[in-house]
Symmetry: C3
């Protein structure tokens, strides 16, 4: 999600502010973890094991003519939105935390919403 401009309002005061990013589609995720390529490869292989893309006929959702039944399941494991505290005007992350966008289907244009609220 690096470089995402978002559509969030600008906070008037950084104290107590909280931002969240939600992925507005149903076959993708916004999640927070480490920016380590091996780990992201592990996520992809693990999700494929938990919810294999094929055979397509294993998902009733694919009876609609779509082929992304697995992507709807993968998105539930990885989550839809994150809520991140803002302290002193900055996202209050742990040492290695970064926000990622996870795409499990890839067929459509997607948008990510960032909303910032506070006192």
């Amino acid at each position: 999600m690096t470089g995402n401009a978002g559509r969030g309002a600008v906070p008037r005061d950084p104290r107590g502010v909280r931002g969240d990013g939600d992925e507005e589609h149903i076959t993708a995720s916004v999640f927070i973890n480490d920016d380590e390529p091996g780990l992201h490869d592990d996520y992809a292989r693990w999700l494929e094991r938990l919810a294999p893309h094929e055979p397509l006929a294993q998902y009733r959702h694919n009876d609609t003519g779509e082929d992304n039944g697995d992507a709807h399941l993968k998105r539930q494991v990885m989550g839809r939105e994150v809520v991140v505290a803002v302290s002193g005007g900055k996202l209050d992350f742990g040492p290695w935390e970064q926000i990622f966008y996870g795409e499990f289907d890839g067929r459509r244009r997607k948008r990510v919403l960032v909303k910032i609220i506070g006192e």
Copy 2:
């Protein structure tokens, strides 16, 4: 969660408002995905594969006399609460997003809490 009246406060101003719905029980979920019956059948079968209801003796939680050990696990996969941005006075969803209540046990009366906050 269609038709849920909730207990949320009414926002005074739609700008920057955010609402969330949380499921207040431990064997059920509130989640956001597509309103497609095949998909919901897929979720049910997939969760049963990840955390089978039987044999009951595989869960130490069921040693308490309950039989819903699996439901506590399914709820973690699907999530407890959702946080949804409100823009222009409306829930700011993606094209197909809807909020659902997922019930994995079914023994008890449940309530869903909806809280709306904003500037």
Copy 3:
């Protein structure tokens, strides 16, 4: 998370307030469920089945010299943060809900952030 002091701001008014706790590390979770020891044993065994710690070589993340590839996956299943409504100045939980800290690695000191916001 019992006894956690947090770093949250004090709300000025309990109406409409919402608090959240997020776990600021990438191999641990904050989650809400029942305080039943058998259930927590079930979670541990279930997560080990979904994302086994060994063999270490199954995770590309472990090629970095770490051995916690599985912990990054377990954290995604259990979640990073929780958002809890505050009503009448109290965390508005369901009958059995409690907040827990789930540790899947254990190597490092961790902190949990609690942020309370409201009108």
